[in-house]
Amino acid sequence: MEPLVLFLLSVFSAFGFYALLAWGLGLIFGQLGVVNVAHGDMAMVGAFLMFALADVPFLLRLLIAAVAGLALGILIERLLLRGLYKHGMLATLLAMWGAAIVLRQTAEAIFGPTPATVPPPVAGTVEILGVSYPSYRLISASVALLIVGVLVLVMYRTDLGLRLRASIDNRQMAAGFGIPTGLMITGTFAVGTALAVLAGALQSPMLGITPQVGLSFLAPTFFAVLLGRPGSLGGPIFGAFVVAVLDIGLRTLLPEAVANLCFFIALIVLIALQPQGPNWRFTIWKPQRRAA
């Protein structure tokens, strides 16, 4: 019983983290078509922010991280990506690769390569069905999933979300309706970046924060987005769940190095079989009917 509970709790913890990262990447990669190889490094920025502002209360730090993420996203989108969309995937990929190098090197220049830590706001463990699990892990995963849930609701239930989805779907048409599409696209990218920064910030008490820490997040996040059918808004959440189960499951059952190999092989097979992901209609609600 205990191993199962431990497994489920760990999957939950990993799922929360990956869902937040993947949903943000889903916006940038799935919706805007930008292969954002700097996504992990944005999480690194969030983690370092938490370290740098160590005296500020935790919640306030998170808020600052979110705002900083938005600012970073707007900066990158406006300066770098604006004129590159028409040049295709390679151009945007390489632009983000350059941005990633700049982010990493700047972090190294400011903080140095020595690993840093952030103390969790809630220390200690909680007893769940006989298993002692660190409380902060569960809290951070819950918060992450809550954020994703709220954003999905915003996307599907509010006017703003509707306009955003319209801009992404058919830019010219949406512009014809008076929706400021440039603003919408910048906004989407900014939100995606902010989510990555927030994910890194939430995860920081568990990490050994170095300028390279973001690199290991890239692959699982991209897999999650691809598994969940790029372009769908709910897809990355499903993909994150699959990745979390695979990751934790394989590593619980097998030795680490073998588990890592099997992880990649399993993902390659999954991608090969389902390049468009399952036809997931979960997030399609019936449209609200307004009184005529």
Binding site: G33, G83, G98, I101
Partner: protein, 568 residues
């Protein structure tokens, strides 16, 4: 038409000059820069390999170093086992090609998008690096395998020789040959390429496989030059390095691949010496600027400096001038069989039914017009016949053979040519190049009718510069020159003036009667229908409503109701 030679003397001179210059390098360079040059030549070959797939066929790969690593490890492992490195290198190349084919099949199917290949290749390179690290019995793990060098000068000449030979061979047989033309077609407009009979998936996979092979060969040559083969040689960092080289040098050009590798590698070296640890940050910023303001890389910059027109650059290295088609024996249709036959075609999207049981036989040589109100399912039906869409149920027969499971290119090869609703041509190429490309895949080369012959001399602009009507005419010219037995046209007169429409109809009629081709046309303009059609069928609400001659049909009440609604 006269065949232009595949190789102009000027090119050969260039190649010879470059080869001679490089051969003299050991006399001019001190040892360290020479060693660096050797390494950058190998890296350039690697970038050239990636360019075959990404630059020319448009197949994305962000994990290409896995193939490079396979070649390098092949050489190193063989050396470690006491076997000749060449043997290991060959095994590495074959393995790389095999892996590429498997990955290609997985990632380049019809349902896949560009992002699929991106992520798949990312997974492959990560897998390779992890495998190299874990399988330490064979690969010696993270410490890597030491590879003896032959000596500075022999290494340089061997590397140079291999690079020159590989580039020349690939250029001559692949890029200048039919494969190169197909890569170009598939890259610029995969839909049009498919309808010219090119197997898009096979072309992409072949480009990826050749690209992997060249990368692996570069790896094998690199092993003695690098001195040590470790997991990072095939990992994510090397994969992104080659992307940087290609971005800086410019895709789609041989010089670009090598220039990018040389510039970045040497630049990193000297910049590092000059400004120490800050060089990475500076490099990142420079890189961002390059991508932002010179997306075509160095080659693109040089091209714009030389004012070489974009449309001739778009052809890359493909040999397009009056390229001869490969003559294929055409299967004669079974006697008595219709050109096209559909039986029981149904198509629905979820709960929405578009076609609800269509049966149609089009005899050879007939000009059939399909008319009907909007949303009746006409385009869907034609797409099902051409192979763009799969029917939910029912059969499609072409020349009496069951073609229901055939993909687009196979149906095209059976004689179906398609003119799209929105003209689908190779917009980056000039009209003359468009025609040459179409002719190179022709089933049966045919002369163009005089009304369309003007495009053959049009080499001075890209097809995107043509107004819509001309673009449609170009598309029609391409299809006709390609020599189909059956021509499917989806609203060919849309957007044309009345005079132009009638001229088009007369042209089509003339072509049909001269060549005996079967025409299936969707049209709204009744004048054209009158001019063109032997038979008319009316499609409404997913079913055939009526068929016959235009006058009979126009008089029927149910047809009028379908077009205009119930009230009238």
């Amino acid at each position: 038409m006269q065949r232009a030679p595949r190789l102009r003397p000027r090119r050969a001179i260039w190649f010879g000059a470059v080869a001679a210059l490089l051969a003299l390098a050991p006399f001019a360079l001190p040892p360290y820069p020479l060693a660096l040059l050797t390494l950058t030549l190998v890296y350039g070959l690697f970038a050239f390999g990636l360019d075959i797939s990404w630059g020319r066929a448009g197949v994305v790969s962000i994990g290409h170093a896995a193939f490079f690593g396979l070649g390098a490890y092949g050489w190193a492992v063989a050396g470690r086992a006491g076997l000749p490195g060449e043997l290991g290198g060959v095994v590495g190349v074959l393995l790389a090609v095999a892996v590429a084919v498997v990955v290609g099949f997985a990632g380049l199917g019809r349902r896949a998008s560009a992002s699929t290949m991106a992520i798949l290749t990312l997974a492959v390179t990560l897998l390779f690096e992890q495998l190299a690290r874990t399988w330490s019995d064979v690969t010696n793990g993270s410490n890597g395998i030491v590879v003896r060098s032959r000596g500075l000068i022999p290494d340089y000449y061997v590397t140079l020789l291999v690079v020159l030979v590989v580039v020349a061979v690939v250029w001559w047989f692949v890029l200048r040959g039919r494969a190169g033309r197909r890569y170009l077609a598939v890259h610029l407009n995969p839909d049009r390429a498919a309808h010219l009979g090119i197997d898009v998936r096979a072309t992409r996979i072949s480009s990826f496989a050749i690209s992997a092979g060249v990368a692996a060969l570069a790896g094998a040559v690199a092993a003695p030059v690098m001195g040590l083969v470790s997991p990072t040689a095939g990992g994510i960092i090397m994969s992104t390095q080659v992307l940087v080289w290609l971005a800086v040098g410019g895709r789609g050009s041989i010089i670009g691949a090598f220039a990018g590798a040389i510039l970045v590698t040497m630049g990193q070296q000297y910049l590092g010496e000059a400004i120490g640890s800050w060089y990475l940050l500076v490099l990142g910023i420079v890189f961002v600027i390059v991508v932002r303001f010179a997306p075509g890389g160095l080659a693109g910059l040089v091209r714009s400096l030389l004012r070489r027109p974009a449309h001739s650059a778009a052809a890359q290295d493909a040999h397009l001038v009056a390229a001869p088609p490969r003559r294929r024996p055409k299967a004669e249709p079974a006697p008595g069989a219709s050109a096209v036959e559909v039986a029981g075609i149904r198509k629905h999207y979820g709960a929405t039914s578009v076609l609800d049981g269509i049966d149609l036989r089009v005899p050879v040589g007939e000009s059939l017009c399909i008319i009907g109100p909007n949303g009746a399912g006409k385009t869907t039906l034609l797409n099902i016949v051409a192979g763009d869409i799969d029917a939910t149920s029912g059969r499609v027969l072409v020349a009496g053979v069951d073609a229901t499971k055939w993909r687009i290119h196979r149906r095209a090869r059976a004689g179906i040519g398609k003119v799209f609703q929105i003209p689908s041509v190779f917009t980056e190429l000039s009209p003359a190049d468009n025609l040459a490309l179409a002719r190179s895949e022709a089933l049966e080369p045919r002369p163009l009718p005089p009304a369309l012959a003007r495009f053959e001399q049009d080499t001075g602009r890209a097809a995107s510069a043509l107004p819509l009507a001309d673009r449609r005419s170009l598309e029609l010219a391409m299809v006709l020159a390609w020599g189909p037995d059956i021509v499917i046209l989806d609203e060919p007169a849309a957007g044309l003036s009345h005079e132009e429409s009638v001229a088009l109809a007369r042209l089509l009629r003339a072509v049909a009667s001269e060549t005996g081709a079967t025409l299936i046309v969707i049209e709204h303009d009744m004048e054209i229908v009158r001019e063109l059609a032997d038979r008319v069928v009316v499609l409404a609400d997913g079913r055939f409503l009526a068929e016959g001659r235009l006058d009979e049909i126009a008089a029927r009440e149910d047809v009028k109701r379908a077009y205009l609604g119930a009230a009238t």
